[in-house]
């Protein structure tokens, strides 16, 4: 059997495309969690982003408005979460779950009018270079701007956390909000900002799904990707580069198991469908086993409410 290298390239590119929403949502949630806030509303924020992006695109016809609108929608819904958990000091877990349920419900309601409407074509970059290098061309060229942004994001996130002052402050707040507050850092402000940023990234991840990956609106189209993104953050031990690895493994296995099902491999379908979840978690657990590193990178105050009393 002759394998066309460009075909392999195309498969890799499709794996990367399926990893994009996971990377975006995980990197956003990672910043939120690094500041000590556990937002379980990722799935809800993604689906809100997905419907907002699609609806704005259909109504206004502008892709730019749609993409930024989706991010803004993510910001708005995460503001509800931030207000509840930071100002009213509600429980992070319960509030996050409520956010997901709310997001799924309201997106289905808004989405009723958009079912069956075809999406728009999203412009791709470097299309002219698509046939220049075998194998690499389909991987490197001819993707949307969101795609390139997603693959740069883990590195930007890593740089931000390690090398910048603001990143240091985010980590400090996640480590000990009490100490940070006593140092004169405005803990609530930092946490608000991190939650809103996480919301924006989840909104973008949702918009990618409904506008670029499968350009249409389907109810509940995030299909649990928000939960996978959450799991990636934890199992990567809050390391953006490992999120990239995890998202690629997950994306890869999802695509490959589709092909295996199509070829008719004699493995129960249920097992094949479960495979990406199992393997991703096992791999991330294995590469993140160092207990010292876990201790160092886990935000100590994760999920704990902070209230400054005078």
């Amino acid at each position: 059997m002759i394998i066309d290298v460009n075909f392999v390239g195309l498969i890799i590119a499709s794996i990367m495309a399926s990893a994009v929403p996971l990377i975006l949502a995980s990197c956003g949630e990672l910043i939120t969690e690094r500041s000590g806030v556990l937002n379980l509303g990722v799935e809800g924020m993604m689906i809100i982003g997905a419907i907002s992006g699609f609806a704005l695109m259909t109504v206004t016809g502008s892709l730019i408005i749609a993409v930024f609108g989706a991010m803004l929608a993510g910001v708005l819904i995460s503001t509800i979460f931030a207000f509840l958990t930071q100002t009213l000091i509600t429980n992070h877990v319960a509030t996050g779950l409520a956010l997901t349920i709310f997001g799924i419900g309201i997106s289905a309601m808004i989405g009723k009018n958009f079912v069956g409407i075809p999406g728009k074509e999203f412009p791709v970059l470097f299309e002219g270079l698509k046939d220049t290098i075998p194998l690499l061309s389909p991987i490197l060229f001819g993707h949307s701007i969101v795609f390139y942004f997603a693959f740069a994001l883990p590195f930007i996130t890593s740089y931000f956390l390690k090398k910048t002052k603001v990143g240091l402050i985010v980590r400090a707040v996640g480590d000990s909000p009490e100490s940070a507050s006593n140092q004169g850092i405005n803990v609530k402000l930092v946490r608000y900002a991190c939650i809103l940023y996480g919301g924006a990234m989840c909104g973008l991840a949702g918009a990618y799904l409904s506008m670029i990956y499968t350009p249409q609106w389907i109810e509940n189209m995030t299909g649990g990707r928000g939960w996978i993104a959450l799991a990636l953050v934890v199992f990567s031990t809050w390391n953006p580069i490992k999120i990239l690895i995890g998202a690629m493994i997950f994306g890869g296995l999802t695509i490959i198991q589709f092909h295996m099902q199509a070829i008719g491999v004699r493995i129960p379908v249920q097992f094949l469908t479960a495979l990406p979840y199992l393997v991703t978690i096992i791999v991330l657990v294995v590469i993140s086993r160092d207990s010292r590193k876990i201790r160092l990178s886990t935000p100590s105050s994760l999920g704990k409410s902070f209230h400054k009393d005078n």
């Binding site: 002052k165 240091l168 402050i169 980590r171 400090a172 480590d175 000990s176 009490e178 100490s179 940070a180 507050s181 006593n182 140092q183 004169g184 850092i185 207990s291 010292r292 201790r295 160092l296 990178s297 886990t298 100590s300 005078n310």
Partner: protein, 496 residues
Amino acid sequence: MNTNLKISNVTKIYPGCIANDNVSLEFNSGKIYALLGENGAGKSTLVKILSGVVIADEGKIYLNENILKLNSPSDAKKNDIGMVFQHFNLFETLSVFENLIIDSDEKRESLREKIDTIMKKYNFSIDLDIPVLNLSAGQKQKVEIIRCLIRSPKVLIMDEPTSVLTEQETSELFLSLKKFSEEGILIIYITHKLKEVMQLCDEVAVMRKGKLVSVSQIKNENLESLANKMVGQDLKTIKKKKENNSSEQLINITNLNFTSEDPFETNLVDINFSVNRGECLGIAGISGNGQSELFQVLSGEIISNKNSIEFNKNYIGDLNPQERREYLMAFSPEDRLEQAAIPQMAIFENVALNNFKSSNFFNNGLINESKIKEHSKKIISDFNVNTDNIDLKSQFLSGGNLQKLIIGRELITSPDLLICFNPTWGLDVGAINYIHETLIKINEQNKSIILISTDTDELLKLSDKISVIHKGKLSKIMNAEEVTSEKLGILMGGGN
């Protein structure tokens, strides 16, 4: 450059308690001031007001005749007031340098230079690039001090700085503080340890129940006069009667080893000792030399070889704490709020946690609340716990009262052996006295104690025999009469 800090009529009221009642004080640079008082006397609130963490309800603060507005910690920093908190304000998972740069506006390189200069000047040696959680308590405190010094403060406030330090580290700290004072930094030293006040300070202000009781020169005071002012009543000093104890062995540890997988724990190597009935064995050492591992092995939190621990002629090395309690052992761990009690649970619920078969706290899986409450009331009255509300969450008890409750809970079943780890850590004189009396009483009833402590004075006062733990190894066991604190100090440092 003279610094004058004036506190004028400061009042701070919390629901149910007046933390500071119209306090006025004046400080001048060149001297070291002590602010002395028992836990809950209001010292910490006062210094939190000075550092902007807490805002006073009434009163004014003047620095060099200028009125200060202290609404946040950054206001204090701007006005050159530095503060080292009792509970470190460090970010454990960040590196030392990251901890220092976070609230500084300087460039990395120039800050690093500045830190190096400070460290050289005061003889500190700390690796700036390792995470803070790898530092010892003394080193963490130095990081906090460096953080203050970077801003060249006029006022440096130290809140109970020695509660986590070894004696060696304490004397190092005192040397540094004296140096700072000579350089014109005004130093306010908050403590409840009388000895330190006598050693270090020039003037002392005593607080009691939120009120300022007295301000005086150290040279006019002595330990007793300060203690009486602080507690507000005459304290009797207790001494242990050294008697010939019975020679009947109660517990015998042979070839006990523990190898930990956690790189932050200490391994125990070939531990051998025995304790007779009515005897108190003290185990001294600098914290982090295997004390907590030893405590866990003895209490059964860590299970060891069955034959390595013989208690009352039974081999119990493989039993868990609950099973060991049935053999009449009792335990008082180091961390009162984390290990000994559950802070969010009521007093009586915490009492029920120490559940014996004979105590009948539970009937057919149901909680026998009246039984537990009756039992709790007995503990509270027998052990002088200062509350009558057994439904109170235990986190609202002061350290001293909580420790009394825990010791009471352990002793009310009259165990043969009490193993305690730093039982008076962070307590005030009154509570320490009470706990010491209680421990002496246990010995007088022919019961035994293993006392693991980092407080050498306490060990010398209470023990019949003393051993020193260093890097997970025990020194030979010595008679307490033959031991001096100097000798212990050498052994604790790893000498012979």
